[in-house]
């Protein structure tokens, strides 16, 4: 039986799609059959970040409306044979998503996949609610700034009141993923610290992803950042997924990197 995970945040631009792509890729790398679904109907981006934009024929809305089959619609990742992408429609709007339709697709996927990662659109409206409704676990992507933390708090409230788990009297398991973390700016008091965010949101910390040039480069090239194994962000995502799967790994990239002697002399 597949585990349904939603990647959500409330606020836009905090790294939901980057996280969905990296998380799903890392799960597949570790041998789990994974599908990642773009719920951002009308503003699809996941296919770009996953580097499969030119291979989209059918999309999620076609599938919901019975215009295509699962095997026609799913796009197999070029690098990882365990990984599939279900792209959003570019031409429709979010009202095309219905509870019944989404449920049917998720049930079909659950028969063959280990993990179903749902990339939520920003906001708290219909699209975001469709993405989180069936979730059993949620990754709350948060930037270390006040407005992002506030929106995350709001979306946690919605998970606790408007998800299927809540309707059944159970609760969605929440994980905090802090992205775009810059220890130097935290030290200068320009950014909230990990402790600040943990204290306000009061949910378990899954990982901290440092602000990194690798992320922009990766998304522009259509390669999920975990494939850059030497990059800090790639390693941080890999750590987060390992922790998600039950490994006990210490949090890294929380302290400012000390410049080496040569860098101090010649400039970094």
């Amino acid at each position: 039986m597949a585990k349904i995970i939603v990647v959500t945040s409330g606020k836009g631009g905090v790294g939901k799609t980057t996280t969905s792509a990296a998380f799903a890729s890392a799960l597949a790398m570790k041998g789990h059959k994974t599908v990642v679904i773009d719920f951002d109907v009308g503003l699809r981006n996941l296919d770009l970040v996953m580097g499969c934009e030119r291979r989209v024929v059918y999309d999620f809305v076609n599938l919901i409306q019975g215009e295509s089959s699962l095997s026609q619609t799913l796009i197999r990742d070029k690098k990882l044979e365990n990984l599939y992408v279900l792209p959003a429609s570019q031409t429709r709007d979010k009202d095309a998503l219905t509870i019944e339709g989404v449920e049917r697709v998720l049930n079909d996927l659950a028969e063959t996949f280990d993990f179903i990662v749902c990339d939520s659109p920003a906001g708290i409206e219909h699209g975001a609610q469709m993405a989180l409704y069936f979730a059993e676990e949620a990754i709350i992507v948060t930037n270390p700034e006040v407005s992002s933390v506030r929106d995350s708090d709001r979306i946690i409230g919605i998970l606790q009141s408007k998800s299927r788990m809540a309707a059944e009297g159970k609760s969605v398991k929440e994980h905090l993923l802090l992205t775009r973390y810059n220890p130097a700016r935290v030290e200068r008091g320009e950014m909230l610290s990990v402790q600040d965010v943990e204290e306000i949101l009061a949910i378990p910390l899954l990982g901290v992803i440092p602000e990194s040039e690798a992320v922009l480069k990766a998304s522009n090239q259509g390669v999920p950042v975990v494939h850059y194994a030497e990059s800090d962000a790639g390693q941080a995502y890999e750590d987060a997924v390992a922790r998600y799967l039950g490994e006990n790994r210490p949090h890294r990239f929380l302290e400012k990197q000390k410049k080496g002697f040569l860098k101090r002399v010649f400039g970094g």
Binding site: R150, D153, R154, I156, G157, I158, Q160, S161, I200, A202
Partner: protein, 226 residues
Amino acid sequence: MKTGMVPLTTIQLHSTDLNALQDELSRRKAEAPALFAGLPCLLSLADLPTDVAGLQQLVSLLRQHGLALIGVRSCPAELATELASLQLADFGQASRPPRSKPAEETPDKSTTDESGCRRAVKVHEGNVRSGQQLYFDGDLYIIGMVSPGAEVLATGDIHVLGVLRGKALAGIKGSPDAIVSCVHFDAQLVAIAGHYQLFENGHALTNQSVLVRLDDDQLVIKGAEK
């Protein structure tokens, strides 16, 4: 048949100006949307000059705002025949004389404790998140935190066994004896019986355990010595 005493809210209007009433109802509803929804109440007509048409308009306005109006008190004899058509019961004359100064704003304590019963208690286990609102008719205990942007309201006390970062409004139907307390104080707003205080720039007792009560229409915030 069983008999028992139940507290019932009585609405005492200061005027029959429908526009003023409309504004006031909208304002109060915006403050606490759950407060009026289905609230059973009586309308007191004492000292209220009104005729048949006026009464009909008044009743329909109050019902539009979600109040479950079930009857009237102190109904003048000439209007008594109209009550049945408005589906209202006649609760007779007020047992105590109408207040001499109807303009006085201090709410009547007896509306909540008329039966002399202890107030109902609700224990909420879990955090109240931003954008959520929790309302209870009685004393509300929260085992968890109240996030900024969240709102907790009670007709009685509010006790937060955690951090209070949002808004807490106690005694919202006018109980000046209501109390707000919390383990870590960092509230945006605290109100007791309509007397409120904002904490835009924090407070000297921020992050301490505090108890807030109303003393002579002033909110008094006391912290545990540390």
